[in-house]
């Protein structure tokens, strides 16, 4: 009841080994981890948990898409028809190729291949990523020229102007957020490439490549869903008409 600390001291719940008793450290082992295995597992788990948050982040947009498409299916089909399916398909293919090169980059590090091989795969991934963004930029500028950027200047000559504007709001929100993720991905890749160039990665330590790869593949998966949901829904409607 007083300020005096309790005299009672319960027995400890843990054995405390005296001092540091470890084997020599790997140079990339951070001090608060016990070993490389724990460090690698923590990093990959961390990235997976982060990707779960990313799923939910995009999920809010997909939710909005679902509700508005359900409310105005014809309007969405009509609006979707004004997207260029060939650019969309090309971009899908490009992203899949970049995923393959990314997977090979991870594999190159995993199997201790020489730095220039790792760098080759990483740079290839970045080139395809940049190509994707380039095509996206062409598509955006087409939309700009056609005045189908939502907002006060939105011009729609076809049917269902309201749902069409809503479709394009979602189109720009979803592909814009995806493109932002691509840009961030390119930034991460630049760092990883630089690290690979400095001969950082081998079969003992390749977690950064692997974790960056997880992120890159995730961005690919988002596009795998965006492509059909945005580009393909209007096709059979017009094919039938």
């Amino acid at each position: 009841m007083s300020d005096a600390p309790s005299a009672y001291q319960p027995p400890p719940v843990a054995i405390h080994p005296a001092g540091h008793g470890h084997t020599p450290h790997h140079p990339y082992l951070q001090h608060h981890f016990d070993n490389m295995e724990q460090q690698a597992e923590a990093s990959t788990l961390g990235m997976w948990v982060f990707l779960v948050t990313e799923i939910m982040f995009f999920g809010g947009l997909f939710m909005a898409y679902l509700v508005y498409r359900w409310q105005a299916p014809l309007g969405f089909q009509e609006a979707s028809h004004h997207l260029n399916i060939y650019w969309g398909a090309a971009n899908t293919a490009i992203l899949i190729v970049s995923s393959l090169t990314m997977a090979f980059a991870v594999r190159a590090a995993q199997t201790s291949q020489p730095a220039r091989k790792q760098v080759f795969w990483l740079v290839s991934t970045m080139v395809f990523g940049a190509a994707f963004l380039g095509i996206k930029a062409i598509e955006y500028s087409d939309k700009f020229k056609d005045h189908i950027i939502p907002g006060p200047d939105f011009v729609w000559h076809g049917l269902y102007p309201k749902p069409a504007e809503q479709f394009y709001s979602l189109y720009f929100a979803m592909t814009g957020l995806h493109a932002l993720h691509m840009v961030i991905g390119l930034g991460i890749m630049s760092v990883i490439t630089w690290m690979a160039w400095r001969k950082t990665f081998d079969n003992e330590y390749y977690t950064p490549v692997e974790v960056a790869g997880l992120y890159w593949h995730f961005v690919d998966i988002v596009w795998i869903f965006l492509f059909p949901l945005l580009y393909l829904i209007g096709r059979h409607y017009h094919a039938a008409a």
């Binding site: 300020d3 600390p5 719940v13 405390h16 951070q30 809503q166």
Partner: protein
Amino acid sequence: METTAPPLNYLNNGHTIASWLLTKDHKRIALLYLVSITFFFFLGGFFALLVRLELLTPAADLLEPDMYNRMFTMHGIVMVFFFLIPSIPAVLGNFLIPIMIGAKDLAFPRINLLSWYIYVLGGIFTILAALLGGVDTGWTFYAPYSTSASNSNVLLAGVGIFITGFSSILTGLNFIVTVHRMRAPGLTWFRLPLFVWAHYATSLIMILGTPVIAITVLLVAVERAFHLGIFDPALGGDPVLFQHLFWFYSHPAVYIMILPAMGVVAELVQAFSRKNIFGYTFVAFSSLAIAIIGFLVWGHHLFVAGQSTYAGLVFSIISFFVAIPSAVKVFNWTATMYKGSVSWDSPMLYAFGFIGLFSIGGLTGLFLATLGMDIHMHDTYFIIAHFHYVMVGGAIFGYLGGMHYWWPKITGRMYPEGWAKFAALNVFVGFNLTFFPQFIVGYLGMPRRYAMYAPEFQIYNVLSTAGATILGVGYLIPMIYFAWSLKNAPLAGDNPWGARGLEWEIPSPPPTENFPATPIVTEGTHQYAPSREVGIV
């Protein structure tokens, strides 16, 4: 007081400003959070004070209605996003989780520091929004008012909340990975302190829910800035969709606020009864159950919002299900005291208060889950009273109890126990006087967010404001004696309470590395007496 140089600990290991602002030590980051969160708590309290003073009379005489609207909005935003959500996890969780699991730090120390900077950045945007005139949408940002009608600083505040969300996500991510991957040898899941279980469950909500509010707030901001038709029906949008997305996060978010407090109370009840928890597995799993079922109930905020009747029924019944694990916790905490050695130290007083007030808060939640009842009570002061019983009577009581319990560990100093008891009593009385009348005035029909109200509601508002004054004093007292204790109070020693747990086996304040070497855990938490099996687990 000290004559010899004190041993090296996390506090005296570096005194430069950089050694604090660039620290990767989870304990120092916890203190950074403590300072910033305390600031936001008193900022939010200041807004609450103005709100309560304005409500002393039925007319809008102290504040114009417009100013009143900004005040309650800022009170909500600051308290929810900048105090309640980060409070216990970012301060006590950050400080204690690595120690409780026998680790040197969280899995990602740099991300931990980053999360604090993100929090501060979000806070700056919000303060800026307040300084430039505030926001008048309510913390709920309902569209289309927020997207089209309001002419206050919705964008700035939205950006602030968006940014702060990432701080919460990163904290949750860090905790989850830490608990999975950093536990000391021998520390199995069912030997984990219940505080850790509660934070694990909280972290699940943080990472699964927060991204949805982030994208929702972003959409509001985009709609406001570019006039896109996402939520405003005049532009073709659907305002009810906003409510679905908003509450998908914001209902689970109330469990982000209360679950860590439940974890604290589980520790307090065990330590101050010198007895292991009654029904460990039930208490541990009830945290997970609350976190998971909590994601399925958000539609009870939409009972009068034009949701379908069928959806109303579904959300209502699941809302009742989420009450059960909370009830299980309350009964188990109470049962833990049975045949314990119960001390009445100030942290335990907060635990007593928590159990009682949370019971009222939880039980009045059942009124709101009951479909026919909620129609009348929706958006009245009954709801205000209900969630303040959970948020203040629950979350803040847990936070204060935890601060008093672990203060000796954090700072190495005791605080004046007499004053602490007085403050606890003060907070309890002030709190009940503030919020109990609101149940009655709510059932009478007084709507929330009213600057002016019908004269027959005045008596209850006068009581409320009087209580709030007492409550405010109750909050200031601990501030003073905690600050005073830093230099003047007696040293605490490693284990002032005679409690059992890894955190009590290391020096106070703990050394930077927490443990000289990774400990090997041999027992579960809070096993005081030699095990004498009574009943089954």
